[in-house]
Subunit: 203 residues, 2 copies
Amino acid sequence: MKNKDILTYTFEEYITMIEHFHGSVAPGILIGGFMVDLACRNIPKNTMYNVICETTKCLPDAVQLLTQCTIGNQRLKIINVGRYALTFYEKDTGWGIRIYLDYKKTEPWSEIKNWYLKVKPKHMQNKQLLLSQIKEAGTNLLGIKKVDVNIKLLGQKHNGRIVICPFCDEAYRVTNGTAVCPACREEILPYVLKTIKTAKTVL
Amino acid sequence: MKNKDILTYTFEEYITMIEHFHGSVAPGILIGGFMVDLACRNIPKNTMYNVICETTKCLPDAVQLLTQCTIGNQRLKIINVGRYALTFYEKDTGWGIRIYLDYKKTEPWSEIKNWYLKVKPKHMQNKQLLLSQIKEAGTNLLGIKKVDVNIKLLGQKHNGRIVICPFCDEAYRVTNGTAVCPACREEILPYVLKTIKTAKTVL
């Protein structure tokens, strides 16, 4: 069987998947593919795992493309601390491994280092060279550590009744006992409806 | 040409896509398909749009499956207020439409109402009936409103230098000028590494 770079895909097949799902072939999602590959080779087979991602940029899409952990099924959780790292952990025990892009290991690949540490602004980077270095480097850029995840802190909140907000007249999930939905309680949504909002009125 | 239910897909084709990406065929992601379909039929062709989703549950996956707005490419943003709603907005002007699941419109479909308003606990719901009612109802469950999105509040934060945190010795994106990464500054990650963490030491 032909050697595959990223799980059951060649590097080129993975690029096609990225173009379809994510749009542009960003360096971060390519490296993310190798991160997922390394994680999957280091967790026991048939393990029911979930994933924590430490950045919102690119990396979540590598996880969503290559595993069945997605934002919508709640098996991928983003805790954005701005680091390029993924933790795969066993759902019931918290046993896990954390894979991270190790800046020290980028040293032999000048263009990866330029991109990762933003040594050069984007328009001065050589994208072709960057992509070929990423393909060449593969999992050699990555660090891996065992971790214990406190699964109690990540417990899914299935609870929460569904009630109707008296202001927007929409159904919402109650999480803290307040009788007004979070959108009407605080101004946290960045839009205004083009009709006047009145309590109990269907807009 | 055969009539398609959800963008260019039949309902059955969409179910296959869900199984592959999301795992289970959840009612929320099915209805989400009709929401995306209705949105796409109401925005001008060739509009460069982004999406805001008001819940983390299921709905983000409908957007990611059917559009090129994903979490990782930052074109899908989740602002979790627990409502079942999506806003598609024009990236540069903020012109947009908000599609929501209108509880009042679930009245003719008993099992959809039972599911949405949690009238019955999950184990007492009839999943087959629920799915067939969702297929039958299509976009008839949905409300649609024009909105003005304040795009300044959603501006992408491209800025932020990449620096090395002196505690974890990893690269991270500086967003507020602090010289320690958010993960080391506050205990916001739910795991402990199985090695001792010391400043300036490679673990």
